[in-house]
């Protein structure tokens, strides 16, 4: 089988009131948490009403992936089963857990309970874009570029995926902390090569100047 190399075709960082795409700050706002995500949603002209039902983890994922996929301008070249998602974080769904727990003292709400799993953000994004391929949610103390790189490369090399959204997406005390990558098996160089080192570089860069 001919193996195209794997490239990072886009990267979005979301942290500390700043949203960065492919190295450039595209949105900055003084608001925190839910208000920041709401402002980003409006500023970026996203139109997806399900956003309003989501917990913060899914909202953060939705905003970041919307930006990530704009490189494709609506023309998605892959079949549903060829696109996957491999995400990770430290705190699973802790903010949604606390919210459900508090609300459940009066009335346990199914609309809140369903978000008390970290992989729901994968489900939400999969619904929006019809991604049906391999998906996985891992928990690690900090972003583990080596692990994400190994796991996604293995899926591509097995011929299971041609494109994958991968990276880190966490929310703690209403603060989103995300760094998501779109990686694709491409015949010619587009973007940076998909290596753990390049993932680390993008994740670690200080974008708050």
């Amino acid at each position: 089988m001919e193996q195209g190399r794997i490239y990072i075709t886009s990267a979005v960082v979301l942290r500390n009131g700043v949203m960065v795409k492919d190295g450039s700050v595209i949105f900055r706002a003084p608001e925190k948490g839910a208000a920041f995500l709401q402002a980003a949603y409006e500023h970026l002209g996203i139109d997806y009403p399900r956003f309003y039902k989501m917990d913060l983890l899914s909202k953060a994922g939705t905003v970041a992936v919307d930006m990530l996929l704009r490189v494709h301008l609506g023309a998605w070249a892959y079949r549903p089963e060829e696109t996957g998602m491999v995400l990770s974080n430290r705190n699973a769904s802790i903010d949604a857990d606390v919210q459900y727990l508090e609300a459940s003292k009066a009335y346990p709400s199914p609309a809140l309970f369903v978000y008390t799993l970290p992989n729901i953000v994968i489900g939400e994004i999969s619904i929006r874009y019809k991604f049906k391929g391999e998906n996985a949610f891992f928990i690690s103390e900090t972003f583990d570029a080596d692990w994400i790189h190994w796991y996604v490369t293995d899926l591509v090399q097995r011929g299971l995926l041609k494109a994958c959204i991968c990276g880190w997406i966490d929310v703690m005390n209403e603060q989103p902390d995300g760094c998501l990558f779109l990686v694709e098996q491409a015949p010619a160089a587009t973007g940076q090569l998909f290596t753990a080192e390049n993932l680390w570089d993008i994740y670690n860069k200080d974008y708050e100047m």
């Binding site: 459900y100 459940s104 346990p108 992989n119 489900g123 939400e124 998906n135 299971l160």
Partner: protein, 375 residues
């Protein structure tokens, strides 16, 4: 591709603390699902499979969730005769809600929110057993256990590790129970997987472990994880696919990777939660896979739905089936009632069995399947 062998296996559940004890209990038709009156978990009586509270006494340095995991890992490691501190050995943990019970018991502070993370439990257990590699943690709703096995298989295939201990657990706290109750998804009596009158799930507590390795054990019976696949419905966050096509995709990938055709599958260990929609979806996927002739069981009538442990627990029982040539019947099932016809196993079948298919599906639209083969 390397062969991935099962070196040992364990279940810690209300039915026993070894794989053997659990399998014997199931062969004898025992179930741990019953009505509980426990105001600390629910104002109303509920039907579930719960660990004896006495199990958790005397291990103050571990949370209840960690205690049940620790017991399961300890037995599996001892049976496999492996050294967790070997640099070629790793630990994979699977859970949906881990230490969520602590969030209910104490005031919610920033420290507590950090403390309940699965990384903290994984670290504690890795240290206890002496694992030197950082643990891998899978938290992917109700496919967590199955996905953890698939992840371990891939790591061993790739030569990253020689041996991997894969363990999963969940406990049923007020948080989880009230959530499923809020969905009106919980049956008030013993659940009825694949039955025409099924009316919802029972929840259950357990831990289960398999030790997988590139090196076969010295015993006669050699069991391998033949293949695995994962997919997403991209349809609904709390309801399954209407067509079953996506679970079928996972089944198809698992069977292709294992090199097994439909005729090679001797039985199917289904997810079989006993909700109307899940069981219908599974019946569609099983038919799409052309394996509707194989006996299908669900173990939810014995253990309830053990969430992040389910994929592991049900795989362990099914491996016992391979070794003992006995297929466990579906407790609670009486009358066929799925949208597509399947061959629900309703009495203990004794016959030579070589391979089984295990399926799992969960919130977020996730599906996973593995094929396990006796070689």
């Amino acid at each position: 591709m390397k062969k991935v062998f099962v070196l040992s296996r364990n279940i810690v559940s209300p039915l026993g603390n070894t794989a053997k004890a659990n399998f014997e209990a199931l062969c004898a038709g025992q179930t741990s699902v019953k009505i509980h009156h426990d105001a600390s978990r629910s104002e109303v009586p509920f039907c579930a499979s719960l660990m004896d509270p006495a199990f958790f006494e005397g291990t103050p340095s571990f949370t209840p969730f960690e205690s049940v995991l620790k017991a399961s890992v300890a037995d599996a490691v001892t049976q496999a005769g492996i050294d967790p501190s070997d640099p070629g050995t790793a630990l994979i943990l699977s859970s949906t809600k881990g230490n969520i019970g602590r969030l209910e018991q104490y005031p919610v502070t920033d420290e507590l929110k950090k403390e309940v993370a699965l990384t903290v439990s994984a670290e504690r257990l890795a240290k206890h057993f002496g694992f030197v590699n950082p643990p891998v943690i899978v938290s992917h709703a109700c496919i967590s256990g199955t996905l953890a096995i698939i992840t371990a298989k891939r790591l061993i295939d790739a030569g990253k590790y020689k041996t991997i201990v894969v363990a999963g657990a969940d406990l049923i706290t007020r948080f989880i129970l009230s959530g499923f109750q809020s969905f009106h998804a919980v049956s008030g009596t013993l659940c009825k997987p694949f039955d025409a009158n099924r009316d919802g799930i029972n929840l259950g507590e357990a831990a289960a472990t398999v030790v997988l390795s590139a090196d076969p054990s010295s015993g006669n019976e050699k069991i391998i994880i033949g293949g695995g696949g994962v997919s997403n419905d991209a349809n609904h966050i709390s309801g399954p696919s209407r067509t079953g096509e996506e679970l079928f995709m996972a089944i198809d990938r698992a069977m292709k990777e294992a090199g097994t055709g439909a005729a090679d599958i001797d039985f199917i260990s289904a997810h079989g939660t006993a909700t109307v929609y899940n069981d219908d979806m599974e019946s569609r996927a099983i038919n799409l896979g052309g394996v509707q002739g194989a006996p299908v069981n669900s173990l939810k009538g014995y253990y309830g739905h053990t969430l992040g442990a389910a994929g592991l627990l049900e795989t362990v029982i099914s491996i016992e089936s391979l070794c003992n040539n006995k297929i466990i019947p579906t407790k609670g099932f009486e009358t066929p009632g799925t949208v597509e016809p399947i061959s629900v196993c309703s009495t203990l079948i004794e016959k030579p069995v070589q391979a089984f298919l295990k399926t799992a599906s969960g919130f977020g639209g996730c599906n996973a399947a593995i094929v396990v083969v006796k070689v």
